[in-house]
Amino acid sequence: MSQIVCENLSFGYGSNLLAENLNFSVNAGDYLCVIGENGSGKSTLIKILLGLKAPDSGRIILNGIAKNELGYLPQQTEMQKDFPASVYEVVISGCQGRCGLRPFYNRNEKNLAREAMNKMNIQNLAGKCYRELSGGQQQRVLLARAFCASRKAIILDEPVAGLDYESSHEMYRIIHDMNHNGMTIIMISHDTEEALRHSTHVLRMTRNMNEKIFFGSKEEFLNHDC
């Protein structure tokens, strides 16, 4: 059964319509790659999936996964640049969604944060200041935070934007590894070639509303393209 289903989704900002009647579904364990030029609405689609923004029409159906079990790695923002926060503080804040009204983190959550940092190979950075890390290290911290928030599905918005070859490669490796362990991945990427290497499905958004949005398996996409 599909884990995430988008039914007749239409969305945009005011009169600026970005997508109309979009239909697609993601099964547990899928690796969906979302591509499309800048401004085609990829980030907006993700905000809708996460419930941060309401669609104009249509709906999202989640099966066997709660709304707060979607991990999220946001597109980088200026805001976080001058923020005084240690790596550990950022990573464990991913557990906050499970806390409810409980004020402090319990042992399980602390262990989970450690495990996430080990997985992303940042355990030795725990006490370091987030804003003083390299771009690649910062992205791994945010990925660890997303991992704390969810063991079932992670949504990533341009995780390798601005990273050098080495760090991008490491990010892709970690993401692939998580997918291998059964995690559903939805990833926005610019680097079509590299992203297609590991993905199972492709969604291509377009800025031109007359052009059809493509959704299908990777094989269908490759055949369709050539």
Partner: protein, 258 residues
Amino acid sequence: MGVIIAVCSSLLGGTLVLRRFSFIGDGLSHVAFGAMSVAAVMNLTGNMTFVLIITIICAVLLLRTGKNSGIKGDAAVAMISVSSLAFGYMIMNIFSASSNLSGDVCSTLFGSTSILTLTVNEVYLSVGLSLAVVITFVFFYNKIFAVTFDEDFARASGVNAGACNLLVAVITAAVIVLSMNLVGSLLISALIIFPALSAMRVFRSFLSVTLCSVILSVICAATGIIISVLAGTPVGSTIVTADAAAFIIFYIGGKFIS
């Protein structure tokens, strides 16, 4: 008493600065001034309670308008704060029974030695309110951090960010009403913001910044009060001067470290 208020006022500094919310604190302090004048004129007995309620309502309203309406957040704040300042002064002018009007206005704006002349009830209320602020902050510390660092992520992972923002607004309002007694409404922003700015120059994690601002704020308040008693300077401005001096020291210290 001054020290307890110093603790409260510095707690939220980091959050407000980092979320570019410092202007809300500033706006609210003007609202508190307006409310204070009204209360003074009407000779309300529950002076502080009245001011507190008005300020909390305005805090909630400001947060709302900043988000939804067409008027931009800071424009809305400017509008509300300037009008309540003008309104407050006008009311005091028209209705005040006091013969020493400019003295009254001056002490509301810059604080007075009134910290020593509070009624017993007001002291109880202040202490109670301070404790409530500290306890609430500690209780919601991790949530406030999560929402401050990345509101979208916090929301997506199931934190009730709206409620958290509301909480921050209400605590800010409470802190402002408390600090009115200590430094007066014009200088409140300094009391809230300076310790956090100083701490951020030197420390690198949210917890250490928060702790450092509290300690710094307490030291500055204590120093300020002692100096003002010894030298006969106004309490509020002496404390803020101490905060400013601390900022300069931390600024230079920060340069040396990095």
